[in-house]
């Protein structure tokens, strides 16, 4: 029953949110209902056994409303559950027109995300996959920046093309199953020839690659991150991109093993190209939001590559990095938003000396930034270490090339910190102040998580142990 609650809580509270008139009530409602979801997700994560739920849905078609929760699902639902209150809390002082709809749509997104991480039926999975997307379309195009309409259109059409390819793939697999079923298990038991696997593999992979995004399917992402309201960007980059990675681990690699061996190398090379490419572009960015967006592409590239090396170390690294990247990138967005709130600009070239005016914010940013470049003692270190280790075992040259991105990450991140926070104050930062208590509290919570998981990553490793290949 717990998996159902994880979907039901945000769904119902999201729908109810539309009927709240007052802005403050809407905020409080969203915060508290999302905290309730956290409690449920924690209970699920702490329960030792795998959880599941199964009910009849479309019996003639062999599609069931079946949800399952193994370690990876537990971890990702926990991430989804935690990130929403963090987002609500850190943007508590932001004001939105029609805030009831804003929060309602965000909660609906959460319901969709939960469903994606829980479904063990392909049709249900597709259903939630799309459900998570539609509210985001409205969120971005109503509350986004100046160029929001064109950007959101591109984003939506892009991901929809991917989704439809996946749908075609699902139908294809369904017609191949012996028991005419959409269940994940039936897909695992398929005996497909190599050419059949190739077709299915690419249909699924493109959908997931667009979502992650992997080079060369990434062009929607920096624009979408830049133009979305910050709360939505946090969700997009913190949780939503994990849909793609999760889907690769759950729906792609086990279903098409032969095709993964066949094309894995190509995907790894694409991912590594993407890492370097995105890192190089990030160095040239003047806009803080775009910088974080490109840095995110680089990180995702590494995670994707580490899945396709097909060894347990890489996979383990990817799984815990999914959680850690979510935490870190949300932290970075919060800082970016705080800087913009204080100075009215996101341009690095127009900023400087912010640390003199807002020392606490500067310290918090530095911790988040160090986590972004995966310094030891931060949570990201252990994940990146495992992933590079896995990549190294697969192919030394590729690992070495990918390793360059670590250096590049240090270059753009430290450069950003230095130019935004240190040096002399300029006209825009002269009157800046510390950001409000909500932002600071959220960041402090995040910093604690970053350091705690950096020193003691065991809980995450323990949680995801069961998903590893045998």
């Amino acid at each position: 029953m717990i998996p159902v609650l994880l979907i039901l809580f945000p769904l119902v509270s999201g729908l109810l949110s539309f009927f709240i008139k007052d802005e403050k009530t809407a905020k409080i409602w969203a915060s508290f209902s999302s905290l309730a979801t956290v409690v449920v997700a924690l209970i699920a994560a702490l329960s030792p056994a795998d959880l599941s739920f199964d009910a009849a849905w479309l019996p003639t078609l062999g599609s069931r409303f079946s949800l399952g929760m193994d370690g990876m699902s537990k971890m990702l639902t926990l991430l989804t559950a935690i990130s929403f209150p963090l987002v609500f809390f850190s943007t508590y002082k932001n004001s939105y027109t029609n805030s009831n709809s804003f929060y309602g749509l965000l909660l609906l997104t959460q319901a969709g995300l939960m469903g994606v991480f829980l479904s063990t039926d392909a049709l249900l999975f597709y259903f939630f996959w799309e459900l998570a997307l539609i509210p985001v379309y409205f969120l971005c195009s109503i509350w986004g920046g100046e160029k929001r309409i064109a950007v959101t259109f591109k984003f939506f059409i892009y991901t929809f093309i991917g989704s439809l390819m996946m749908l075609a793939g699902i139908i294809y697999l369904y017609t191949q199953t012996t028991d005419a079923s959409f269940a994940l298990k039936s897909f695992y038991n398929l005996h497909l020839s190599i050419s059949q696997q190739a077709v299915g593999f690419w249909l699924f992979f493109v959908a997931f690659a667009i979502k992650m995004p992997i080079f060369p399917f990434h062009t929607w992402q920096p624009d979408a991150y830049e133009q979305s309201p910050t709360a939505v960007t946090m969700i997009l980059s913190g949780v939503m991109v994990k849909m793609g990675i999760y889907a690769v681990i759950r729906w792609l690699v086990p279903v098409f093993p032969a095709a993964v061996s066949e094309y894995g190398n190509l995907v790894i090379i694409l991912s590594v190209i993407g890492m370097l490419y995105a890192s190089l572009i990030a160095i040239r960015q003047d806009d803080v939001k775009r910088l974080i967006a490109y840095s995110s592409i680089a990180h995702i590239g590494l995670m994707c590559a580490a899945i396709f090396v097909k060894n347990n170390i890489g996979l383990e690294g990817t799984m815990i990095q999914m959680f850690n990247h979510g935490i870190n990138v949300i932290g970075l967005w919060i800082v970016a938003d705080a800087v913009e709130k204080q100075t009215g600009t996101r341009k690095i070239s127009e900023l400087g000396g912010l640390a003199q005016k807002a020392p606490t914010l500067a310290i918090l940013l530095v911790v988040m930034a160090l986590a972004n470049i995966a310094l030891p003692l931060t949570n990201a270190f252990i994940g990146e270490f495992l992933m590079f280790n896995g990549l190294f075992q697969y192919n030394m040259v590729i690992a070495a090339v990918a390793g360059v991105s670590i250096i590049l990450a240090a270059v753009y991140t430290l450069n950003m910190i230095q130019r935004v926070f240190y040096g002399n104050t300029v006209s825009l930062t002269a009157n800046a102040m510390e950001s409000n208590g909500y932002v600071q509290t959220t960041l402090i919570i995040l910093v604690i998580v970053v350091i705690a998981l950096g020193i003691y990553p065991q809980p995450l490793l323990q949680l995801t142990k069961g998903v590893l290949l045998h």
Partner: protein, 469 residues
Amino acid sequence: MQTNYFILMHHELIIAITIMLLLVIKVGSDKLSNQLVANVTNGLLLASLVLGFIVQPEGNVFGDMFHTDGFALLQKNILVAGTLIISLQASTWLKDYEHTAEFYILLLSTLLGMCFMISSRHFLMFYLSLELSTIPLAALANFDLHLKRSSEAALKLIISSAFSSGLMLLGISFLYGTTGTLSFGEVASAIQLNTPLQLFAFVLIFAGFGFKISAVPFHLWTADVYEGSPVAVTSYLSVISKGAVLFVFITVLFNVFALYAHSWYYLIVIVSLFTMVIGNLFALRQTNIKRFLAFSSISQVGFILIGLSGGTHTSAASVVYFIVVYIFSNLGAFGVIALVQGLTGKENINDYKGFYLNNKMLSWMLGIALFSLAGIPPVAGFFGKFFLLLSGAEKGAYWLIAIAAINMVISLYYYLNVVKNIFIDKSDTSIEKLPIAIQPRIAMIICVIGVVGSGLCGGLYQYIFDLVK
């Protein structure tokens, strides 16, 4: 035996009685209240609908010309429900209209024709009921009496209908010539493979159907007629009339021409491809929202044809399910358009800029309906399309699914464009808050429940599937 007739034909009888009643009311009183006429009709339609679900007889009458069973009753119920929704939506438009009674008489006459058509098991019966359902429609299309374009629409509709009926009649006579019978069952068993004349007859009959469901290349009348007709009639044409013809099409294809399945499979696939693509490409360019929905409905027919190409029970179930979903979605959209057009006279897509600002309820209704038409989960349109594609995939035509998927992306673009106009764009001249009377409000609630509910509850598809068997 006598009572059996009444029970088997209860849909048709109630509709016929309603028509008589309206005639008596019209003749009997000079000053009749439009509201009364509407209420009488709606009440009796509702009664027919309820009865349709409770009393489920099965049997033949008129020397096996008329056949009814659970599946036929379901189809009739769907049509009656759709007509009821349209009638509720039309009340704003008809409130001050001088010919309300005539409107309902004509509307119900076509419905009567469709009910008979669904039950017909004989080409003669089929042809007669087809004409009964078409000719009053032309009169209805002309119901905006002061508008020239309305007359133009009626003329186009009647000419193209007459032409398509002519083709169909020629096909039927060839069929009679080669088999010596017109009964569906006997024709089916008398048909032989490799008889050119029979194949030709089939193509002619297919063309006739193609006109009625506006499949490409028989679609040219659609846009002008849809644009010129009053909105209520347009929605009736696009949903109910198409639905009814498609129901019969299933019977004719799957039962009568079952032997030719191999031939008509390719015919349907090709027609469906063209219908999807051309409908979509034209819809992209439209600025008038009625024309826009006309072309989008053409492309929807393309999807339905994909479902039909499967040729199994699953295909029939998926088509019927899609038509249910389509009725709710399209009527939801047309309901809002009817309201806007009736109260402000505006019918361009640009006029909907900033619509959300003053009309939240209507905007959500239209938005949900358009998302459903685009086939995006969680609304029912997705499941409708999904079942159609699934049944198309049964014969292994994956390339067809791929092309359909591409078309879904194209259609998403134009549906989203309207959604964008409603929710996101700002305008200084956005439409004021519109008052919604009680009847359209009820219709809207039914549509919303239908669009959301028929997707989420899997039971509906199961119900249809069981009836098809």
